[in-house]
Symmetry: C2
Subunit: 216 residues, 2 copies
C-alpha cells in the first residue's frame, strides 16, 4: 500500500510543480522558500506567491481533473515539502465532513488574503506593503522583536510586492523609522508593536488578519 | 417552518449587509448591481467587489461564528437578491458531500480570480484591465457583439479597477481601437473576439478563465 504522505527534499531552482500539469498532489512546505509564478502569452512572468514553512500549495488537487495553476520553484539553498496524493485528499474530503470544513476554511482564508493584498495596492504605501509582508512572517507574535532570514532576491521580492526594485530599497530605508533593520537577506524587527502601528492603520483588517488565520 | 430561501428587493444605496455583522445568510444576486466595500482605520474606503446577476456574497455564512468581511450596498435603481439562512447552508455542507464539493470549487474559483486580478495589476495596462472587466460580464460568450448597461459611477468603477477616474476615461478612449464604444453607462462591444485579443494576451490564463468558471 502506498504511504499516505511522504517528505521530499529539493535544491535551489528545482521545479516542484509545473503550471498546467495534472494536479496529482497537495503540498505542504516544511522548510525553505518557494516562488510561485505564472507566464503570460506576451512573455511576462508574474510572481503570484512566495511560500515558506506551513504554507500549502497545489489546492487544485482537491478537484478531479484539475491542473496546477502555477509553477513552483525553490529559492534559497533547499526546501523540504510534505506530499499528499490527490486521491487520498479527495477521499478525506468526501468522507470526513470536519476535514472538508477545514479545507473550506483554508480556501476562504486564501481568498480573503488575496483580496486583502489587492486592497493594499490602493490603501498602503510601498513601505507599508513591505511591512505587512514582514509581519505575516511573524505569524501571531504581537510584541517584542524578531529576526528573519528571507533568501529571496531583491527583484523577486519587489515583483511579488508589486513594486520596482528601487522602490523596495527606498521602502527598506523608510521602515527604519519603524525599527526595521535590513542587512541583505537578514532582517531585524526591533519592535513588532511599532511596525504594526506603522502598517495596520492603513488596512481594513487593522491587524486582525492573523487572528482569523489562527481560527482555522 | 421557515422557508429555505426567500427573495428580497432593495433600492439604491440600501445596505444589504454590514462589515462586522454576524454572517447569518448567504446571498445570491438575481438582478442589479452591488458595491462591496471596506474601510481602513485611517479613513480610506476600498471597493473590493462589484457584484451582479449570479454573483454570491456572504461566504462567511459557511462558517460558524463568522462575520461579514465587507459592507454591501446597492448601486443603480434597485437590486433583487436571494437569501439563504446560514444554518441551512451549513447543514447542507455537513450532510451533502457533493454540495460541499461545489462550495469548495466556488471558494477556489474566487481565490483564483482574486489572484488573477492581482496579477493583472502588473501585467496589464489600465485599458486592458477595463477590457477584462467587460469580458467577464459577457460570461462565456466568445464571439459576436454585446451591449451592457453598467449603473456604476465612474469614480467607483475606477477605484474598483485600481485606477484614477482620468485613467479610466483614457482607457475607454483606448478601447475604441478594440471596438468598444462607451456612452455613459451603456457600453457596446462590437467584436468580443477582437477585445479578447486586445486583453487576454497579457494574462497568464490567456482567456481560459471563463472556461474554469463554467466547470463548476
Amino acid at each position: 500500500m502506498a504511504p499516505l504522505m511522504r517528505t521530499r527534499h529539493f535544491r535551489k531552482d528545482d521545479a516542484i510543480l509545473c503550471h498546467g500539469d495534472k494536479a496529482d498532489n497537495l503540498w505542504v512546505v516544511v522548510s525553505g522558500w518557494l516562488k510561485l509564478t505564472r507566464q503570460t502569452p506576451d512573455g511576462k512572468e508574474t510572481i503570484i506567491g512566495l511560500c515558506t514553512d506551513g504554507d500549502i500549495l497545489g489546492e487544485a488537487a482537491l478537484f478531479a481533473h484539475a491542473q496546477y495553476p502555477y509553477h513552483a520553484e525553490v529559492l534559497g539553498a533547499e526546501a523540504t515539502v510534505v506530499v499528499l496524493p490527490a486521491d487520498v485528499v479527495r477521499n478525506l474530503v468526501k468522507e470526513d465532513s470536519s476535514f472538508s470544513a477545514s479545507i473550506m476554511h483554508l480556501l476562504n482564508e486564501r481568498m480573503f488574503q488575496a483580496q486583502l493584498k489587492l486592497e493594499h495596492m490602493s490603501t498602503m504605501s510601498a513601505a507599508q506593503r513591505l511591512g505587512c509582508f514582514l509581519l505575516r512572517l511573524c505569524h501571531s507574535q504581537e510584541h517584542g522583536s524578531r529576526e528573519l532570514d528571507i533568501p529571496v532576491e531583491k527583484h523577486i521580492l519587489a515583483a511579488f510586492l508589486g513594486m520596482k526594485p528601487e522602490t523596495l530599497s527606498r521602502s527598506q530605508q523608510q521602515l527604519k523609522e519603524a525599527g526595521v533593520v535590513v542587512k541583505g537577506q537578514h532582517i531585524v524587527i526591533n519592535n513588532i508593536t511599532a511596525l504594526r502601528q506603522y502598517v495596520c492603520n492603513s488596512c481594513s483588517e487593522s491587524g486582525a488578519c492573523d487572528a482569523e488565520a489562527d481560527d482555522e
